[in-house]
Amino acid sequence: MDHLEKLESKSVFIIREAYANIKNLCMLWSIGKDSTVLLWLARKAFFGHVPFPLIHIDTNFKIPEMIEYRDRLARDWKLNMIYGQNEEALKNKETYPDGNIDRISCCNKLKTETLINTLNGNWKRFKLNHITGQYEIDRSSDSYNGVILGIRADEEGSRSKERYFSARNLESNWEIENQPPEFWNQYKTEFAEGTHVRIHPLLDWTELNIWEYIKKENVPTVSLYYNNVNGKRYRSLGCYTCTFPIASNAKNVDEIICELKTGQLKNTAERSGRAQDIEDGGGLETLRRSGYM
């Protein structure tokens, strides 16, 4: 087994453990490369099927290619696709792009709050109808108590401390000091009523591993990751107002891998194009403690 097979095998095991142990399970799909690899791993785990819904938190400021790509894959792969949105904040223009609040507060409103209220079913959810090809209001408002996420330990400090199975209380708080032990493929799979759990199958993957795997498996990715015309590409995807492309000539997966291994990106952080991290003092800790993923 090479290192990618090992990573794949462990991630598949974790996804299957989540499915076997958690009743209302879903997977968060940000459309980015990591969570798309995660989705691919779910299809590996269940032999082509994805037996739980994919949730996308749509801030309404996502780059349009991302939404097109999401809906194309959702149709082709017959995904149970759901998205959530902070309709209230968008209507009242309480956003950073509208110039009314700062970046961190905007992330909190459009992402964190939306995520919490989409998962617990308090807010409307929009579900893809595969017959009409349109999204319609999801009739179910069941709370999801398990979310599979594509975070990686090498992304930034607080993520390097995560467990594969991480329980959060009702307020989504993360008690970093008091995480349960995990060893020998045994995870926290017993929960008190009202707990929700985040599952992190990609913790041990690096950015390079992700690209190597995309190449190996030929996983479809959004075109924004590649330099298509102007010598710029996105290294990490988010809202167009706060995520900026980097200068790069990498036109395909091979060139990205080469760039990560030897080229200009060897020594710069992946999220360097994310403005909200810088506002948070260089880390995501403030955001993540309150439920940001």
Binding site: F13, K44, Q179, N218
Partner: protein
């Protein structure tokens, strides 16, 4: 550079310099993102603190302020040979569970000892834990050599003391490395302060650790993780999924599932977006289909015919370490997890308690408290399949869950007799010889929309058990369930006619009852049985007979008069109506 990744843990007592060593390693090998050091230096300046290499790791704000590592942190780093994940384990006793979580992911370890302070409590405790976790490759790093003037004799005396200790727990460490992380001496290069030392640097040691081979020459073992059938998407494959823990299997080979003893052949090995495979080996998360649709459940251990069989039993002798806030005590119910199997368990007996920080033995204790290790006997309420650690380590490890948290872990050293091995062999033979129908248990479950199970209603004479049983049968029947009531006394004059007057036939009587129950369950029915004051051993006989169908025990009456492990207690004769309702509600909840 090899396309290879290795996980290394850095363990040792608090403040002996683990984080500093890693910080140095990252910095000296230029593995940090541009500007990282400058950011930290600036932070130190603003907060009037001297810069330390350990800060590189202390990504979390409160760790920076307390100056200790709380949780294992993963750091990614490359040498010219391969890539590494370095796991920084906390050295504080309070965070032993975090140290274990980190260390269990590692293939090799660096154990750090402060040259000035010498061997401390957690130097030994961490060594012991590494050995329990099964990590064999350990290099000992004597750090802060600058504080003792790079003195060779002091180095040797620590080396001698610690190697004695490691020997006592069966670890041979060949490498003892003197370093000064603060001065960067002997981390990736020799700066000349250690002329008397001609061994490897830390970086060289890392590159010398040997990648553990995938052990596919061992017997095949795979805990069944799930059985998938995604019929909604017009896929009629029934796939047994799991992670191969050791050995390998190929299409056409015969598989036996333990403890049920059910057998079938591998029809295909399934995959997604991969070339068709004819084999799966240790380390693979795989899935296969079978030629016969045998009924098995998550948690069973898949093994291969012709290879050494696992042990099956419900009393085991173990070595364990305890991490729970509450002590491990007798009389309380815990969950025992081995692979994907989960069963209820109790602490039966403590043989000895070992203080893991100095290996001294504490006698005459009736509980195991946090950070202690112990040799003890655990009894499970249902038989499990496993291996003893000396034969196969992958399937000889377990964890104990207290309430909702993993509170302990351990290795199985012996399978103890539980008096059921005869019955178990008989059941395994019966399952092998069983003439199979073309209709599978799964098909019956789908058709009847119910999972066959036994509801055993027991209690004292006159406690209302037959009334509750019959009432429950009626109420389920009226709701359209396929259900059957069988009083254990009913078989006395029929099936048991030949032994009804003989004494000492209680076990045979229960065996026959269990065989009868198994036929009824196999037909897809819900069986409601009533029996007077069943004890736990008797229940075990019945459970062994009907495995993998489940038996749920409902006790009627106020006071429980036997040692039987029950799932629900109802009032019985004093309130039959309400007893029936709560029994039904319970069944509805477990469906």
């Amino acid at each position: 550079m090899l396309n290879e990744q290795m996980n290394i843990v850095i363990a040792g007592h608090v403040d002996h310099g683990k984080s500093t060593i890693i910080g140095r390693l990252l910095s000296d090998t230029h593995s940090l993102p541009d500007g990282k050091i400058e950011t930290i230096k600036k932070y130190c300046e603003v907060n009037s603190k001297p810069f330390e290499y350990a800060f590189i790791l202390d990504a979390l704000k409160e760790e920076r302020s307390q100056g200790i590592t709380i949780d294992s942190t993963r750091v990614f780093f490359n040498s010219s040979k391969r890539s590494y994940i370095i796991i920084d384990a906390p050295g504080h006793s309070e965070f032993l569970k975090n140290m274990i979580s980190g260390a269990s992911r590692a293939e090799a370890a660096l154990l750090v000892i402060d040259a000035k302070e010498g061997v401390q409590e957690n130097s030994k405790r961490h060594g012991y834990m590494l050995s329990m976790l099964g990590i064999k490759q350990i290099a000992v790093v004597i750090n802060k050599m600058d504080l003792i003037g790079y003195n060779r004799d002091s180095f040797n005396s620590i080396k001698n003391e610690y190697s004695e200790f490691l020997k006592s727990i069966n670890i041979n460490s060949l490498n003892y490395v003197p370093v000064s992380a603060r001065e960067g001496e002997n981390i990736i290069s020799r700066n000349g302060s250690l002329r008397w030392y001609d061994g490897p640097t830390i970086l060289e040691i890392l590159d010398c650790f040997i990648k553990e081979r995938v052990e596919d020459n061992l017997p095949f073992r795979m805990h069944v993780q799930d059985i998938y059938k995604f019929t909604n998407d017009e896929d009629d494959r029934r796939i047994i999924a799991g992670l191969v823990e050791s050995g390998k299997i190929a299409v056409g080979e015969e598989i036996i599932f333990y403890p049920s003893g059910k057998k079938s052949n591998i029809k295909s090995i399934e995959g997604f977006n991969s070339q068709s495979k004819s084999e799966a080996s240790a380390g693979n998360s795989t899935g296969f289909t079978l030629t016969d649709q045998v009924f098995i459940t998550r948690g069973e251990l898949a093994c291969k015919t012709g290879e050494p069989a696992p042990k099956i039993g419900n009393r085991i002798k173990v070595n364990l370490f305890w991490l729970g806030i509450n002590a491990f005590v007798k009389g309380r119910e815990y969950l025992f997890k081995i692979g994907t199997l989960k069963v209820k368990a109790k602490l039966e007996e403590i043989h000895k308690i070992i203080n893991s920080s100095d290996l001294s033995v504490i006698n005459f204790k009736d509980e195991i408290i946090r950070n202690q290790a112990a040799e003890c006997i655990i009894s499970l309420n249902k038989a499990a399949a496993f291996d003893v650690i000396n034969e196969l380590k992958q399937t000889g490890r377990f964890v104990i869950v207290d309430e909702y948290e993993i509170a302990g872990g351990g290795i199985i050293t012996e399978c103890l007799d539980d008096g059921l091995s005869g019955i178990r062999e008989n059941v395994a033979l019966r399952n092998i010889k069983w003439k199979k129908s073309t209709i599978t248990v799964d098909e019956r479950i789908n058709k009847y929309n119910q999972i066959p199970k036994m509801i055993l209603i027991t209690g004292a004479k006159g406690s209302g058990r037959t009334e509750v049983a019959r009432g429950l049968e009626k109420i389920l029947f009226d709701e359209g369930k396929l259900v059957y009531y069988l009083g254990i006394g009913s078989i006395k004059y029929g099936i048991d006619a030949d032994i009804k007057n003989e004494t000492g036939k209680r076990e045979e009587h229960l065996r026959r009852f269990g065989e009868t129950a198994n036929i009824i369950l196999d037909s897809g029915m819900i069986l409601i049985a009533a029996a007077q004051n069943i004890n736990n051993l008797e229940l075990e006989v019945i459970k062994t007979e009907i495995y993998p169908f489940e038996a749920k025990v409902i006790y009627t009456g106020d006071e429980i008069l036997t040692d039987v492990q029950i799932d629900l207690k109802v009032a019985g004769i004093n309130n039959i109506e309400q007893s029936i309702v709560s029994a039904k509600k319970y069944l509805f909840n477990i469906e």
